[in-house]
């Protein structure tokens, strides 16, 4: 006779079964199909496909612009989250709701909106043009679109962590003689670092997979402003399913490596504190 711990939800066996089933059916199976489709290619064919100059250019843009967008969001998302958590001002709830807009908007709409504003004759674009700054149809536009759509992920990941940083921690640091910058660096930043990394990760993952908003503002010049997801779609339109699958596998691998690296960093950070305890 086994002792069962009373719990609101059904026991371990059932929940674990569900976990495995869902992960398999919804995540692992399609991914396996993708790898399988790519595996039907010959190895040399595969290598030639994924290392063509056009593909390499698209990786650079996709991952570079995504990393840049996630970095921008880590910094400014932190500022936005800080403002929303710490200050009470008229319209705070409105701004809080606005943060989620990119979640809900069809990404194509975001793309069209951005293009309207930043195109050569757009509202802002026309003032940037004389300064020699071109946004639409350049890598800058791609970064801008990725920043926009991944912003809520960064903000929402950091908000709860910032709620945890109570005001008295800063006040304690202050009475102990620390200046603002010192207190920020030694107290606030270390406390929110895990959330900051999570925010970065989510924003990055979202940006890498983004398609809809980018294609409108990118201009899609091969080697210059063509992102990998677009390249995949181009292959699909030419009924080159295997080529598309090969590129997909590369994206999958690279994303997995990046996410794994960040997760390991998080784990290491946690262990560092745990180790200090012994």
């Amino acid at each position: 006779m086994s002792f069962r711990k009373p719990n609101v939800l059904p026991g371990f066996g059932l929940t674990f079964g569900f976990t495995i089933f869902f992960l398999s059916a919804i995540v692992l199976l399609p991914l396996a199909a993708l790898v399988l489709a790519a595996a039907s290619m010959h190895w040399s064919e595969f290598v030639a496909m994924v290392s063509s100059p056009r593909a390499l250019g698209s990786y650079r843009l996709s991952f570079g612009a995504s990393a840049l967008a996630a970095s921008i969001n880590a910094v400014f998302g932190f500022v936005i989250a800080w403002t929303l958590v710490r200050y009470e001002f008229p319209g705070r709830r409105l701004i809080d709701a606005l943060i989620d807009m990119p979640f809900a908007l069809p990404t194509a709409v975001s793309g069209i909106a951005l293009t309207t504003v930043f195109a050569q004759h757009g509202w802002i674009g026309r003032y940037l043009e004389p300064l020699g700054i071109k946004v639409a149809y350049t890598w800058l536009g791609v970064t801008l679109a990725l920043t926009l759509i991944s912003m809520p992920f960064a903000v929402r990941a950091m908000q709860p962590a910032l709620l945890e940083v109570q005001h008295d921690l800063e006040e304690a640091a202050e009475t102990l003689g620390a200046g603002r910058f010192y207190a920020f660096r030694r107290i606030i930043l270390p406390t929110v670092l895990p959330a900051l990394l999570t925010g970065f990760t989510l924003a990055f993952a979202r940006a890498v997979g983004e398609y809809g908003s980018v294609i409108f503002i990118a201009g899609n010049l091969p080697m210059k402003t063509e992102i990998t997801p677009l390249l995949i779609v181009i292959h699909l339109e030419q009924f080159d399913y295997r080529g598309a699958a090969a590129l997909g596998v590369v994206m999958l691998l690279m994303s997995f490596v990046v996410l794994l690296a960040i997760n390991l960093l998080q784990a290491w950070n946690r262990r560092r504190h745990a180790r200090a305890a012994h």
Partner: protein, 548 residues
């Protein structure tokens, strides 16, 4: 002096949360700020620490004016209620934080940390994280951290609030020992009266942003100056008593008190009787001159060494007892008896007993009670329900008497019965208010409060006295009023010959104002004060003392 506060005032949203606090705390003194929540004690502590700016007044630490100095340069150590430890840092890093900020060498830091951990009895805990410590241990770390940079002043903001009773006791002792060993001037904020008594060298009691009284615990307990302190520090029964030639009359008892100063004319006072100063006996004869009134045992509670009784007075008017708990409709007399007393005279609920008092303390408050006075008793009762009067009486824990005076305001006639006017007499703001006030003052009322029907609790109290002779009395009454309302006080000086008009003009400048005015000369009073009192829209309290 280690800490000197001079008229420190801080407002939030127009309300003074710290109101005109002046205080000196000596070197090495353990000072406790005690008050109910919202009394402004934490805000005052934060102002000393430099985390909250002040709107007015000066703060000095060891003779250095730090009013404009940032918290990090004040040299104070602050301990928070919820510890505020840096959770990602070890105990060692937490304690060394202030030393790192100051770029102290690692070997010196380590030495200082060991010393501090020994002081708070946490040796060997250096490498723990805060999350791995109990609440009591975390607060010890917080104390050690606050002391690391050798601050001149240690400030503790409800440091035991989140701890259970036993841990609290231990930590109290540790903090007291640390404080003695280091000789550091310490201010502790608490709402717990027992804690305050256990720790304080000296005690300051705050309510509504004001520091009401400061002194050694024993003095404050046995000789409080205010109703609030009397009832907040331990239990107290408040009687309306009469101060006469032979002593203090409480009900039937006459108690010679060393505080008693023979008065030319008997007047009403508020007398404090602690529960342990009440005696009960089977018959009044056993109590002799200490007999106050007959009572009935209403409730008995066994409380270990002591027995707690609640007695109801059989005839409430014989010895007027003021309700100390705000909600209590019928005031009860609280009594505690020791074991020998219980054995000598056993009691059971419902028993009728004779009540006596051993010792009374007379509060120096000039406002003992209110009496609503009007031509008819119906009008007087309506007046007694006026919002400001009801609010003041509730806050002052006193009662409102009813007194119909058919002759009120008639030029020659005196009161029908010759009972003296006691406490503050209240009349309504009507066209002949000035004439009525004069009549009352001439017939022995010392304080007359003239109230408009709609007046509410004032935000600002203007104070003026017509001549120097009445200044002390005016100030005493003003203090008494201001202790019970969160208002600002302002002395009004005027060179105008038409003082009443000038005062009326000042009162009409802003809503929510009240005037306290002292007079000694009643000649042509009604005529002079007509612009101020007749049909005015503001409450006016007239304080009269005949020139001696």
């Amino acid at each position: 002096m280690s800490i000197t506060l001079d008229q420190v005032t801080k407002h939030y949203g127009g309300v003074p949360v710290v109101n005109d606090v002046s205080l000196d705390i000596g070197d090495g003194e353990f000072f406790v700020l005690l008050g109910p929540s919202g009394s402004g004690k934490s805000t005052l502590l934060r102002a000393i620490a430099g985390l909250t700016g002040v709107d007015y007044g000066r703060i000095s630490l060891h003779g250095r004016d730090v009013t404009e100095v940032a918290a990090r340069k004040r040299g104070v150590g602050l301990v928070f209620q919820n510890y505020a430890l840096f959770r990602h840092m070890t105990v060692a890093d937490n304690i060394e934080f202030a030393l790192r900020v100051r770029h102290m060498r690692a070997s010196h830091r380590r030495e200082r940390r060991r010393e501090l951990l020994r002081l708070v009895a946490l040796e060997g805990m250096d490498d723990r994280l805060p999350a791995q410590l109990s609440g009591g241990q975390q607060q010890r770390v917080a104390v050690a951290r606050a002391l690391a940079h050798k601050p001149e002043v240690l400030l503790l903001d409800e440091p035991f609030g989140a701890l259970d009773a036993k841990i609290r006791e231990e930590l109290r002792r540790t903090i007291r020992e640390v404080q003695r060993e280091l000789g550091i001037t310490t201010v502790l904020v608490t709402h717990d009266q027992e804690e305050a008594f256990a720790m304080a060298d000296r005690l300051g009691i705050m309510n509504l942003g004001r520091l009401l009284e400061a002194g050694v615990p024993h003095e404050l307990y046995s000789r409080p100056a205010t109703r609030f302190v009397a009832t907040f520090l331990g239990a107290a029964n408040l009687f309306l008593a009469r101060n006469g030639a032979e002593g203090i009359h409480v009900g039937a008892a006459t108690i010679a008190s060393h505080e008693h100063s023979p008065q030319p004319r008997e007047h009403e006072v508020v007398a404090v009787v602690r529960p342990e100063e009440v005696v009960v006996a089977a018959t009044p004869a056993e109590l002799g001159s200490r007999f106050v009134a007959q009572g009935v045992v209403d409730e008995m509670v066994f409380a270990g060494a002591l027995e707690r009784l609640r007695l109801r007075l059989e005839d409430g008017s014989a010895a007027p007892l003021l309700a100390t708990a705000d909600a209590a409709a019928t005031p009860y007399l609280e009594v505690t008896r020791t074991q020998p007393e219980q054995r000598a005279f056993e009691l059971h609920p419902g028993q009728s007993v004779a009540i006596g008092v051993r010792r009374v303390h007379v509060l120096p408050t000039p406002l003992s009670s209110f009496t609503a006075c009007a031509a008819s008793s119906a009008a007087a009762e309506t007046l007694a329900r006026q919002p400001l009067l009801a609010e003041l009486a509730a806050r002052m824990k006193t009662r409102i008497g009813i007194r119909p005076e058919p002759q009120l305001g008639a030029s020659a006639a005196g009161p029908e019965e010759s009972a003296p006017f006691v406490g503050a007499t209240v009349i309504s703001c009507e066209p002949q208010a000035a004439q009525r006030a004069e009549w009352l003052l001439r017939h022995g009322a010392n304080e007359v409060l003239v109230l408009p029907a709609q007046a509410t609790v004032p935000q600002r109290v203007l104070i003026h006295w017509m001549d120097e002779a009445v200044r002390p009395a005016t100030l005493a009454v003003s203090e008494s009023v201001l202790r019970h309302v969160p208002a600002e006080a302002e002395y009004v000086g005027t060179l105008s010959r038409e003082v009443a008009q000038e005062l009326a003009r000042r009162l009409s400048e802003a809503p929510g104002q009240m005037l306290i005015v002292g007079v000694s000369d009643l000649a042509r009073f009604a005529e002079r004060f007509s612009p101020l009192l007749d049909g005015g829209r503001w409450p006016v309290l007239v304080v009269h003392r005949a020139p001696s």
